[in-house]
């Protein structure tokens, strides 16, 4: 029964991990940017939900669109105004640039929000569903479902819409896409905005089930690193698989090795996967 419970927990955690990482994977895959600001967008999205709940009593699941729209705009502006200027430079320039922005934003967030850990506690936070002796908190299930839904919407968007196709074309061949009339600067900004919006939405979800603080962004970011590397870039299923694997590894690792080393397991997994198959378990060749 313990194993069943851990399995359920791992899957629920894996779903949220996937939605955390999918925006990061998108930005990395399309623009070859290692987006250090990713965790920051998650954190800010969480704070949008927190403050809406705290100040105006808005149900956390209703403020998701707001936090998505806010961070889409922030991401769009950041890409258009700053990152687009150096996006063709050697790859670690964009990494350093986003790191600089991250330092600035996190510092301001600490100033305005204080460093306290916050969590949204709606009235139904205590409910849980139990069947066959397993108990699952209602909030965790909602987060899981919404996280998977979010990932699916992104999947649909990339495959079925005009903008999504333009993004994929840009990833495949920048110059050809430009020749076909794709405005690269705009597509890059939209891609980055979508990455930020997806991050913000999953940040809002995380703020309901877990505690967040301005410095949580580093944790989200390192999870994204690990998940994208395990799952591989270039497809959304990679993020899902990576999220599930990390969720399972962390929960079962904590069972056998003690909870202290839970985070270290992820890094070991990261280095192992890089050693065995650098393009990730589900990654396609050419995306490494």
């Amino acid at each position: 029964m313990v194993y069943g419970q851990i399995l359920i927990n791992s899957i629920l955690l894996g779903g949220i991990y996937a939605s955390i990482a999918v925006g990061f994977s998108l930005v990395w895959g399309v623009m070859n940017i290692l987006n250090i600001l990713h965790g920051t967008f998650l954190m800010l999205g969480g704070y949008v939900t927190f403050w809406m709940f705290k100040l105006y009593g808005v149900d956390p699941f209703l403020s998701l669109p707001l936090s998505a729209v806010c961070m889409f705009c922030a991401g769009y502006v950041a890409q258009r105004g700053l990152i687009n200027k150096i996006v063709r430079a050697p790859m670690f320039m964009s990494l350093i640039l986003t790191f600089g922005l991250q330092l600035l934003v996190v510092r301001l967030a600490i100033y305005f929000f204080t460093g306290d850990f916050r969590s949204v506690q709606p009235s139904y936070a205590g409910f849980s569903i139990s069947f066959m002796g397993l108990s699952v908190p209602f909030v965790r299930i909602s987060i899981f479902v919404l996280g998977v839904l979010l990932t699916s919407i992104l999947f649909w968007f990339m495959g079925r819409t005009r903008t999504g196709r333009a993004i994929r074309a840009t990833r495949m061949d920048l110059d050809s896409a430009q020749l076909m009339g794709v405005d690269i600067g705009r597509i890059y900004a939209i891609t980055y905005g979508i990455g930020a919006a997806v991050a913000a939405t999953s940040g809002s979800l995380v703020s309901v089930g877990f505690a967040i603080s301005p410095v949580s962004d580093v944790e989200f970011l390192s999870k994204s690193f690990i998940i994208c590397t395990i799952g591989g870039l270039g497809n959304i299923t990679g993020a899902l698989a990576g999220g599930l694997i990390l969720g399972l590894a962390e929960n079962f690792g904590a069972l056998y090795l003690g909870p202290g080393l839970q985070n270290a397991i992820g890094y070991v997994l990261l280095i192992l996967v890089l050693f065995i198959k650098p393009s990730g378990l589900l990654g396609r060749k050419g995306f490494e």
Partner: protein, 327 residues
Amino acid sequence: MFRPWSHIQWFGMGAGVLALILLPSFVENDEIRKWMDILMVAILAVSWNFIGGLTGYPSFASAAFFGLGAYTTAILMNAGFNFFITLGIGACLCALVALALGVPILRLRGHYFAIATFGVAEFFRELADNLRITGGGDGINLPQITGGPDYFTRFFYFSMLGVAVLAVLTQYFVTRHRLGYGFVAIRENEDAAAMTGVDTTKYKIIAFVLSSIFPAMGGGVYAYRAAFLEPIDVFDVLFSIKAIVMSMLGGVGTVMGPLVGAVMMEYLSDYLWGAFTEFHSAFLGIIIVLVVLFIPRGLMAVSQEVKSRGWGSLGIILKSNIQRFKV
């Protein structure tokens, strides 16, 4: 490409070192401590240059080696070892770790290499957080140095200076040796370097090992001086980031660049916003953004262009920098 220094350059370098040696005789302890911090980040920047600047592999492992060196000194000094011996042992240990990690990690390119080195630093931090020998998250105490503040400020200052001079000299001789040319060949085009007979795997590992030794020693000095270590303090990714940004500010891939960048950045930041310690990292963030956008090839490159084209063209130079890589 890397010409040997002329007599004037050697003279300038010697004068600089002499000035740093004489510095403690003329200034207050506070000022000495400030220069000690400058030297510490200079060590990190110069060491990063081996792997990141010359070889072109942007490593974020500086913090890992810094922390490993710091913890080695802490643990061995508690076991009764002499301070300088612990520095040597820390350097050897980090060289071995770099050797062992380098084999798998240096096969990776681009972002995957960057992430792997991030992962290494974070893994060691988690490890130090959980092992008993490192004191876990509670931290670890070191033996206090005996003597007055005048004595120990100078003791740590000269230790740091010694490591820094060693790092710069090593870099000078490496860049004038076939090793340095091999590194740069790998940076410019790894496949072509392999074709022309550079043993790329070996060279990359040597660069990685070189970049690990001096941060380890700097970390050891830092540990003895701080007298107390916490995993989050020494395995801080900011150490890696500072090393990179300072190299960029001065000029990546040159011997003097990282040095110039480190001195400028630390001194200026202290001078400009020493009063706002709370917002130090925010200002650092702004500086990073400005450096990446406007002077990505470093101050040395900009000053050379200014020299040949005159001050009037400074605006044009900065503008062309920002337009080089845009979409």
